[in-house]
């Protein structure tokens, strides 16, 4: 039998005004297990707490019930008090007789009666409480950033700046991501490369950062503080440490007709290549699908010209295993495929392009050297039509579009229109829009400049059809303001394609047991209060993998994710919430039901040997809860048929005892 002390707080008149506190304290003296019961003006005050401590010593209490305000207010306070008195801090229960009793009931007898019942329920619960100790786990002071775009770069730099080592895993041969492909950035129109490439160099030169380019994460095990990650380093057939990035191999390579993915296939590269001049790491990569030597064993030119002897045709994929304390997902986005939008004739005409393709066409390092020429005949386009929301906000066509707003298109379209009008004033630029969405600092001003200073024709309406005809693109669209159908002969049509999460995100989410929404964007732990954390502890989100966003937003989220990582890595040990699920192995069926409902992937299974009463042994599959990962929701406890799974601090029999006390 426990020795329980009950402490009834007056809270001035807040409680005592409607509840006869003396009567409550008196009534509790007769409850089983209660050896001491008293009341006091302010239990949470220094004097009140001293009183509890003294009572614990004097009456050798091993359980405390405080009848006071909401546990959300002072549960932590009284737990500390209990700990100071030498008790386990989880041997405290609060009966909420203020918010849920004295403040909502007016009559003293009614309030008193209910307060007594609530106190009895708390006593019933505390008599079944067991001491709990938060689990401890060490923290590996190293972070992994998956994705080397601007989000990953910024996160890595910020974490490294705080002194923690960071690894970046990037699937492409270079970091830089989508931002490296952009020409200028809104709303300031500074060139993307000018602001991005210095950061890429910083990453390369930072001693705390390792870059695994041309690599993928293939497996993740473990949990917050200790993730064991397998990284596949794809064979690039060039020794990264030896290669100087001189480019001699590239010049000599006879395979010159490989579509250049950096320029979105609008020009060609060699089979051995460096994606772009400022690539980091600046080393060559051999494309095994096109290299003659790798395909047929005949060539070997690059190896002959390489002064550093870096070419290695026998290279194999390598697998690295590393341990990290935290993982940041920064897998980014891609524009969706335009192939299925027949009405815009993207597949039929070379002169119907996406906005990202336009970025390359306007970039000085792009296929046209920065002169805007249309892809079909390399002539100057004189009439250009931009179509907004292609595949965005598209509910009816789930197989080709996305239901959400891609957020960045309004601004980059304004940017493109403005840049074209600035460079080629003889060009007519039309923008068909549904809404122009410009919430952001200096965003609306930017869009207005496109209209007012640069004379871009904004048309409220949508393009219904684009028909290529004799080298002209016949654009048919509606002008809703003028209530008129427009027919424009355009030379170039630019589609603002919706963006979607990178395809690698879905399998990665499965590996990380991080949740995703129906659009494959990672879900945040709380949409408002924990926007850069995944619900899976130790996994953080940076950039567009969490939802469409522009560069400034991406960078701020990247910084926020970094600060969360730093906050985690600063700790030597992680203290868990001790109110976690626990499986009784003797009763577990190993049926995997609990595993299915766990939102955190905290439950795993192992085959365990049991010694039976008849001295034989039996191997059974049993559930094991990872206490560092479990957040204590209790979903598993109800899913478990046998009752093997229980939640510490909210055990089945504790809640049952409360029910009984209330219903008695």
């Amino acid at each position: 039998m426990k020795r329980i002390g009950v402490f009834v707080c007056h809270c001035g008149t807040n409680i005592a005004g409607t509840v006869d506190v003396k009567a409550v304290a008196e009534a509790m003296k007769h409850e089983p297990g209660v050896v001491f019961s008293t009341d006091y003006q302010y239990m949470c005050s220094q004097a009140g707490q001293e009183m509890i401590k003294a009572a614990v010593k004097e009456h050798r209490l091993d359980g405390i019930v405080v009848c006071s305000c909401s546990p959300r207010m002072h549960e932590a306070t009284f737990r500390k008090t209990a700990a100071a008195a030498g008790l386990n801090s989880y041997m405290v229960e609060i009966a909420n007789i203020r918010e849920q009793c004295s403040w909502v009931h007016k009559e003293m007898p009614i309030g008193t009666e209910k307060a007594i019942i609530l106190a009895k329920a708390a006593v019933a619960k505390v008599s079944l409480n067991a001491p709990l100790t938060p689990g401890e786990s060490p923290v590996t002071k190293r972070a992994l950033v998956i994705g080397g775009g601007i989000a990953g770069i910024q996160t890595a730099l910020d974490i490294a700046d705080a002194g923690f080592p960071v690894d970046i895993v990037e699937t492409k041969p270079t970091i830089g991501g989508k931002m490296a492909q952009l020409d200028k950035t809104f709303p300031t129109l500074d060139c993307a490369a000018c602001i991005l490439t210095p950061k890429m160099v910083d990453v390369a030169q930072n001693e705390k950062i390792r870059i695994f380019s041309y690599s993928e994460v293939t497996d993740v095990k473990g949990f917050v503080g200790n993730f064991d990650v397998t990284i596949k380093r794809k064979a690039r057939y060039v020794n990264e440490t030896l290669c100087t990035g001189c480019g001699a191999c590239t010049e000599k390579c006879p395979m010159k007709k490989v579509p250049n993915e950096f320029n979105l296939g609008m020009d060609n590269r060699h089979a051995v290549y460096i994606p772009f001049a400022q690539a980091v790491p600046k080393v060559a990569t051999i494309d095994p699908n096109h290299c003659l030597m790798l395909k047929s064993g005949k060539c070997g030119l690059c190896s002959k010209v390489c002064g550093a002897g870096a070419i290695d045709y026998k290279a194999k994929d390598e697998f690295l295993e590393e341990r990290y304390g935290a993982i940041v997902v920064a897998t980014g986005f891609n524009p969706i495929s335009m192939e299925k939008f027949d009405e815009f004739a993207y597949a039929q005409s070379k002169d119907v392009i996406t906005s990202l393709e336009l970025e390359r066409l306007m970039n000085a390092a792009g296929p046209t050297g920065g002169t805007l020429l249309r892809p079909s005949d390399h002539q100057h386009p004189h009439t250009i039509v931009f179509v907004q929301c292609v595949g965005s906000r598209c509910e009816a066509c789930a197989e080709k579009g996305k239901e959400y707003c891609s957020k960045i298109c309004c601004m980059y379209t304004a940017k493109h229109a403005m840049l074209i009008r600035d460079k080629y004033p003889d060009t007519d630029v039309y923008v068909f829009y549904i809404d122009v969405r410009t919430p952001g600092k200096n965003f609306d001003e930017f869009y207005r400049r496109a209209v007012e200073e640069y004379g871009v024709h904004y048309i409220k309406g949508m393009v219904g059809k684009v028909t290529p005809e004799n080298g002209v693109l016949k654009v048919q669209g509606s002008d809703l303001i003028d209530n008129r159908q427009l027919h424009i002969d355009a030379d170039l049509v630019v589609l603002a394609a919706a963006i979607e999460p990178d395809k690698s995100a879905r399998p990665l989410a499965t590996m990380l047991t991080a949740s995703m929404d129906t659009n494959d964007f990672f879900t945040e732990a709380h949409p408002k209060l924990r926007p850069v954390e995944s619900p899976t502890a130790g996994v953080f989100l940076s950039g567009t993998c969490q939802g469409p966003k522009d560069i400034p937003e991406t960078v701020s989220q990247a910084g926020a994710a970094a600060s969360k990582v730093i906050g985690l890595l600063c700790k030597d040990k992680l203290l868990g919430n001790p109110c976690v699920a626990h499986s009784d192995e003797m009763m577990c069926n190993g049926c995997s039901t609990c595993e299915k409902v766990c939102p955190y992937g905290a439950i795993t299974y192992e085959d365990k040997e049991f010694r039976m009463p008849d001295r034989t042994t039996k191997v059974r599959r049993v559930a094991k809860v990872n206490e560092a990962v479990c957040q204590g929701c209790g979903a598993c406890t109800v899913a478990c048929m046998s009752g093997a799974m229980d939640l510490k601090g909210f055990m089945n029999k504790q809640i049952m005892a409360e029910v009984d006390a209330i219903c008695k």
Binding site: N589, T593, Y605, K618, G643, M656
Partner: protein, 330 residues
């Protein structure tokens, strides 16, 4: 009438024993009377030849036995599966309850099973039963030979058979059947149409007969817990026998809830109930509700499927509207 004969099963068992595919056989064993059949494990040829039995009283679902039998030894076990057994077989595999490698499953078509228990209640002093085509001849001690239509003696669950198709086997004897368009929810619907008072009266009448013998739990292939909550002192609901009018209700609701989404509707619970409580109507209510709220789901139809009760979508019906829909108002 069973399409495949005892000899066919026996020969298959002997063949598999002989060629070393299996080491033991889980089959039916004759009792004192031909309608008195019990599951048994046969360890050798002689035992098989002597006691192995297959007739229209072999209703027991074998799947549950696989848990304890495969845990006992490394030897490989032959099991004969009727179509409804094969669903339980898959469901138990989904829940990792036995090692598939240790089992060789032979599917057997089922022509519907008779119930010895029902028969004895219909006819007194039965001494023997034989089935010929769609006729059943019942020999009695005092009333001579009686003849019945097979259909009329068919056990209730077989009248509403959901599937003649095997969903799991290594080998199949005879022809496989189809998933049937059964009327198994008719009785549930009839209850739903009643007023709450009538329903309460119905269930009070049924459940108050419960003697808490636990036969339903012990036979149920979904009730395979290492320790049942009702035996677990930490569950808060431990009780050996129903002490009051509520507890049998509590027991049956919780039992039905625990098997919801896992119950394959094999009907064993009602078959074994000595008090003739239509327990399957509780399980079928859950199955019907799951189908109507969350889309059709058949437990055991495939291995590894995720039961609707451990799944969700963001636009599931609210409990309040679900109750309305549970009335068949949807």
């Amino acid at each position: 009438m069973q399409e495949v004969t005892r000899d066919a099963l026996l020969n298959k068992a002997l063949e598999l024993l002989k060629n070393g595919t299996v080491d033991r056989v889980l089959g039916y064993r004759v009792g004192e009377f031909s309608y008195d059949v019990t599951p048994a494990v046969f360890e050798n040829e002689d035992a098989l030849k002597k006691d192995f039995c297959w007739n229209s009283f072999c209703g027991a679902n074998f799947s549950k036995y696989l848990i304890s039998e495969t845990a006992k030894t490394e030897k490989k076990l032959l099991v004969f599966l009727k179509p409804c057994d094969s669903y339980s077989f898959n469901q138990l595999l989904t829940e990792h309850r036995f090692d598939r490698e240790k089992v060789y499953a032979v599917g057997v078509p089922c022509g519907g099973m008779l119930s010895g228990k029902d028969l004895r209640e219909k006819v007194e002093s039965v001494s023997d039963v034989s089935v010929n085509g769609d006729k059943v001849t019942v020999k009695t001690l005092f009333d001579g030979d009686l003849e019945f239509d097979f259909e009329t003696l068919l056990s209730d669950r077989c009248k509403n058979c959901k599937s003649k198709k095997h969903v799991a086997y290594d080998e199949l004897l005879g022809e496989d059947g189809e998933v049937l368009d059964s009327h198994r929810f008719d009785e549930v619907e009839r209850l739903e149409q009643m007023t709450p008072d009538e329903r309460f009266a119905f269930w009070q009448g049924e459940l108050s007969r419960c003697i808490r013998c636990n036969a339903c739990r012990d036979v149920c292939p979904a009730c395979t817990c290492e320790k049942c909550v009702f035996d677990n002192p930490n569950s808060g609901v431990q009780n050996k026998a129903a002490a009051d009018s509520f507890e049998e209700k509590m027991f049956h609701i919780i039992r039905a809830f625990h098997v919801a989404g896992r119950c394959t509707d094999c009907g064993e619970c009602s078959r074994v109930c000595p008090q003739h409580i239509p327990l399957h109507l509780l399980n079928r209510k859950f199955i019907k509700d799951i189908n109507s709220f969350y889309g059709d789901y058949q437990a055991g139809a495939e291995v590894g499927s995720r039961a609707p009760i451990v799944n969700y979508t963001t636009d599931d019906p609210e409990p309040s509207e679900a109750v309305e829909r549970g009335h068949g108002n949807a």
